[in-house]
Amino acid sequence: MTEPTPDTRPSDNLLVEQMADGDRALAELYERYGALAYSLARAIVGNDADAEEVVLDTFLKVWRDADGFDPDRGSVKAWVATIARSRALDRVRSRKRHTSALRRSAATTDTGLAVSLSTQPDAEKNLDRTLAREQLGTWLGHLPKEQKEALELAYFRGYSHSEIAAELGAPLGTVKTRIRTALGSLRDRVQPQLGGGGS
């Protein structure tokens, strides 16, 4: 199941397999993806305290569910990112249910979440990222503005199609097309870099 890697460090998949053997594997996995989860959570929830809780929730779930992880269905990194995003969005939605303030303006800027997708060249580079952030930034930069906006609202806000349509003042069908096209474009660029065959 786990293939040897040139890296002397245990692979992500091996760490997940070893999760039941104590907390060393979890600690190592956190070292690799803690910043990813925290950064993503922070971008979605908009404050440090909630982001910390999201990270704790995320890695607790990884620890609890390690038995069910199937490497054939995706990478550990994608798994962690997906859980973190989901937990962060749950947190935002939970807040919305309990308060009358439906907008978390603190999480955004005047230009909206575009900031979240504008990769910063001076960001930390000590993470074992599969893709260079600069390259990702270039790819995102190639997306038409309206596609990027729609994708941002879906990815970072967890908005539904109709909510995005209302937010952007665009027809529902147009919004769907923009999102599918945007994510499809990224997939077409990302997949070859990850060694996949593409579509």
């Binding site: 999760m19 907390d23 910043a35 569910d65 907008r103 978390r104 990702l136 999102i179």
Partner: protein
Amino acid sequence: MNDHTFLRLVPDYVLDLLEPGELKDFEAHLATCDECRSEVEQFRETMGVLADAVPVLAPPPGLKDKLLARVREEAAAKAKDSGTAEGTAGANGPAGVGPESSSPKDVTKPTVAGPQATSAQAAPRDAKASAGEQPKPEDSKVRPIQSAPSHNRFAILPWLVAGTGIAASIAFSIGLTNTRSELFDAETRFQSASQRVAALVTDSARADSILQALVQPGLRTAFLSQSGADPELHLFSGANDSRIVLTAFNLPPAGPGRTYQLWGINTGSDPVSLGTFSTLADGTALSLISVQQGATFEVSAVTDEPAGGSPQPTTQPFLVGTWSADAP
């Protein structure tokens, strides 16, 4: 829908954008279509890469230790629970600690559309797990309180005030030795406030930390408010505790470059900073503040200070309240 339509819906699926009916059809199709499964995997990876687009922030230094401490707590609780609770045969997760740690893994790895489809179909949109989340053992395992599905976790505090039985269970899970009657006394003391606190707590792990500070004998409280108007601030601290639970309501976020600072004041002494805090856009806050163990104050106050806080107040307090030990 034909296969081409399903293929087109893959981005919607991984972004959790499918409506319940669409989701059901899609996942039924996914179980039978290798091409769509492959597409889903590729789009999931793309989603993972997309996470790299956010500005990288280093997690707080203590967060890793907190995580590992929680894991150990949960593993210990699980091990303890497995000795008495019913139905734990299927709960042998990756605890790594306790009698089950050496037992064979008991969870069959799910197929692509197995438990994922079940959970996504069953949950409402705002509570469902992401379609990109891979395994769902939590849906198939019997779990103790701390492992309840995340979308139910915020409900723990209301449960506490609703019944002593649940309160006793929570006390067990957080390792307290309080007697049942002491718990009942404690829950009575902060019942009204806890209903508001509950609205601020969104997961069990955080709730546990809050509860540890709240559920104890000799709880001291201070309610800070402007006369006859919003906002208000509630403080809770155990008699010999090193923590203060702070809740705020109707307190707009401090202005740019500013922060709120909490002070402890005793007669004849300078105010002591108890730390800074911020509120959300909706005017609420829930913070766990660390203070010197056993430190007590007659009065607490809140001032508006420059970001980072001040050694001594630089503005007039706009919230002031007196500490009192609630009668049991």
